[in-house]
Subunit: 526 residues, 2 copies
């Protein structure tokens, strides 16, 4: 039977082109130290991206060439989001907070030929370049140049000032790689996730659907999650497609910077990790009366479950907290919740299931806990450099490593990371549930529970706590017993000044476990 639809590919450049033509006058902001460094329209973004594409081609960047970025949230980084994939090259966004050896490992894995580097991150580039032979060019995202032996140095601003705009982005196969992001690697080396043009466009559509995340035209988004990690949760792509205003905080944003930007430029939505939202709250309170948060109607907290006290505080300032579930491997959005007490329901085209230890699917009954698995056009099917079967996949589904139940209506409740469960005397203890409960105690501002090896019980929980006021161990034991069986009571409550965090702001349980297991614990659980 003849007759069909046009075979038009889903391309990252089509999002930009739409913005140039239909939202051309819409103004975005790129900030530095809480001040606007540049207000730029989508038409200007298009011009930058087209010039960057032309300039990179001159440097030898071709279809498939990897271009690394060591950069904060800015107009220049955003131009790379479109200019690099636009010509079929691949933007490898490097998490600048990873240890240098992990960064070098990632650059070598990706075989980056060019590095785009913010001026303040040049020391990192200097440190890794000797160990990353694929790198031939370093482009400083500004008007200066680097002086790094063994590579050619360029200024981004000079490059695009001299380049002519690429008139037409090439028509690529939509399954062409568009960007790479490495997992944060809390266990072992980071793994590279390769996003395609197709997955990027579909994810942008999915997070712009009404009733969900709903990245919307005319609204204004302060992006406090890093463009160097999972494409800032897809917000830059979706906002461009929808003609929303992006407010990019620039290098090393401090809580004070955020408060200045919010007060002066009045974004509707604030997007980032709970840790950042907590710091903004802290700074706001320290400078009582100086700043105005009233424009923020929604706080989207991702990465981990927001503490209830933080949610309440923002609600007191008129901002609803929303969240979702996802990971680097899922682009990241797989579910979304209009609230904060669960992880919400799957987005369209995302399939979720929980399976038992034999891999058999469990019912959606809100009780049957198992490992969460995901399948979608925007879930990774294989990692960068993966050459054979991987334990991360099961029968075509991604194994997430999360323990979850699913309610009959599809609502996801993450119970724990598999590796964070405490196996005590043949019973499972959820570290996440313990943490959430502990954080409801008025004296506790932060809590992390880890398993430590135990002669008799195999493993026992230990709690690390940041406390605001004094509280005795006995009081804490009673508090835990008020909700859980007594064998859930941690063997120790360790007071610390701060909980160790990973490069993306998550609780770093590997470090806690390491430090904790150097001490020995007497058998005490009953």
């Amino acid at each position: 039977m003849l007759g069909t639809m046009m075979d038009r590919p889903l391309l990252v450049s089509s999002l930009l082109q739409h913005a140039e033509r239909v939202h051309g006058d819409r103004v975005n902001l790129s900030c530095e130290a809480g001040e606007v460094r540049r207000a730029f329209t989508y038409r200007e973004l298009g011009s930058d991206a087209r010039r960057l594409a032309a300039a990179l081609s001159e440097l030898g960047v071709q279809h498939g060439t990897r271009v690394g970025s060591l950069a904060w949230n800015s107009d220049r980084h955003l131009a790379a989001y479109f200019g690099v994939p636009g010509i079929g090259a691949v933007l490898h966004t490097i998490n600048q907070r990873m240890p240098a050896e992990h960064i070098a490992y990632a650059v070598n894995q990706a075989e980056d030929r060019v590095l785009l580097v913010d001026a303040d991150l040049l020391p990192v580039a200097r440190q890794i370049v000797p160990a990353t032979p694929s790198v031939q060019h370093v482009v400083v995202l500004g008007d200066g140049e680097a002086d790094i032996p063994g590579v050619r140095s360029w200024s981004f601003d000079d490059l695009i000032a001299e380049a002519a705009e690429l008139a037409t982005f090439p028509e690529l196969d939509e399954r062409t790689a568009a960007s790479i992001c490495f997992t944060s690697g809390t266990t072992g080396l980071p793994k590279g996730v390769v996003y395609t043009h197709r997955s990027t466009v579909l994810h942008a559509l999915a997070i712009s659907l009404s009733g969900g995340v709903a990245i919307s035209p005319e609204r204004s988004y302060l992006v406090a999650c890093q463009m160097s990690h999972v494409n800032s949760w897809g917000v830059p792509h979706a906002a461009t497609m929808q003609g929303a205003r992006l407010v990019l905080p620039g290098p090393h944003p401090s809580p004070l910077d955020y408060l200045k930007i919010i007060t002066r430029h009045r974004p509707d939505m604030l997007i980032g990790a709970p840790a950042v939202m907590g710091l903004i709250r802290h700074e706001y309170l320290a400078r009582r009366g100086e700043f105005d948060l009233s424009s923020i109607r929604t706080v989207w907290m991702g990465g981990q479950t927001p503490p209830p006290a933080l949610v309440e505080w923002w609600a007191g300032h008129g901002a609803n907290t929303v969240n979702g579930w996802g990971m680097t491997e899922t682009h990241p959005m797989a579910t979304f919740s209009q609230g904060h007490t669960d992880q919400g329901r799957p987005l369209p085209l995302v399939e979720l299931r929980v399976v038992d230890e034999e891999g058999v699917e469990l019912p959606w009954d809100g009780r049957s806990a198992g490992e969460l698995e995901a399948r979608s056009p925007w879930v990774t099917g294989s990692y960068l450099g993966q050459t054979g079967p991987s334990e991360s996949f099961h029968d075509g589904w991604l194994r997430t490593g999360d323990v979850a139940v699913i309610e009959p209506d599809g609502t996801l409740r993450i119970k724990d990371r598999f590796k964070d469960l405490v196996k005590s005397g043949g019973e499972w203890i959820s570290s996440v549930e313990l943490e959430n409960h502990l954080m409801e105690h008025p004296a506790i501002t932060e809590a992390a529970v880890v398993a430590v090896p135990h002669e008799k019980w195999q493993e026992r929980p230990v709690a690390w706590l940041v406390t605001a006021t004094d509280v005795t161990d006995d009081e804490l034991r009673d508090f835990v017993r008020s909700k859980f069986p007594s064998y859930w009571v941690p063997d120790a409550f360790v007071r610390v000044d701060a909980i160790p965090k990973t490069s993306v702001g998550k609780v770093d349980k590997a470090t806690i476990r390491k430090q904790q297991t150097t001490s020995s614990l007497a058998p005490s659980a009953g």
Copy 2:
């Protein structure tokens, strides 16, 4: 470079499966004569679709088999929307208002093997079956059976009652044909447009984006546009994906039926042609005080520009009028406007351009008028049975036959159909602009302007008018001259009881021209 996203296809069945699992309890309504015949959840819809798929397989329906539907908006038709494409077969929705010879032509072109027929449309099926040798089975959408010589007859309700649910829909290539709709054929024979799974899913995503058409979860849609024409503008697919409530009016809905449904079931949005909205208004006024339209917040009018008076009337009842531009070939939504005075801006992934008579692209300046061309993953690339190049396409773009300008911000303004322009003495006269102006005259309720051949001027405009009160030709001439040059004044104002309409409710200019050109006109234009 290894590492990529999962290669999951975009399938119509994935929309249904999402609804079954995530919106399973959401209740839709299927009506008859203004009463609810059946309230059904998405889980029940899934069960029906899976049983229908199994039953059709038993009748020999396979991958690629065409299944025609001669049916109104109902739960059974909706089950076919998912059950037929779910197994790789193709649902050919037949516009029941087309003349029988066009229906037979379409069935023969599509080579339908099975016809799904609403009981009241069996006379049409009886009339065409002798001329459509491909048809082997007629399934009556109800609990009765047909008695048509030469084909086997079945009852839909019996078939699905006896069938076991298909557990898993097959994984198809997303470019597999999902449905066929024929153009309404105002000139010549209708042409078949073949929608794919990919285009259907992408269109569903596009019309669910926030800030646009925004088919939204939890909202309720009274679908007054026919499921037999361009998939009811994609609303059934998008509503299923989003978990919105569908309110389907059933066979031969009268204005009174709509009023009953709106008053009792309080849908948020009413979707259909301006003609239907006008009839509902008329019936409401005739039964003053009996019905309540207050639930309707939005009236989405498509197919043609809504008359300003109708828009104002609905606004007076609290309902905002929205509209967009599209055609059978564009699935249909290509643009959308939150208002009604223009056709809005392109949806993401839709490219538009206007070209001059040599095919050269014109600027988006709000002034340069040319033929509108469209390109998108949900625009047709070739017609059913098309074997060679077609005049409908130009360099990979669809030629729409519409004359338009595009504003610098992408706002589309359709000026006319090419064939409805009047070429008088070397100048173009827009019949649409004349009609819109005439309908602003208080005495005129409907107007249609056509070109008739003229010895001296080549063509001259003639206006057909439905009037509410008396008005002289002189008054009308003055009224036209108040806005347009005098050569725009129609040579004749013909009073009629009703303007002829096509099977989809559009003004039937072909018929008007035919009737008008049998009369002769004296040269009078200056």
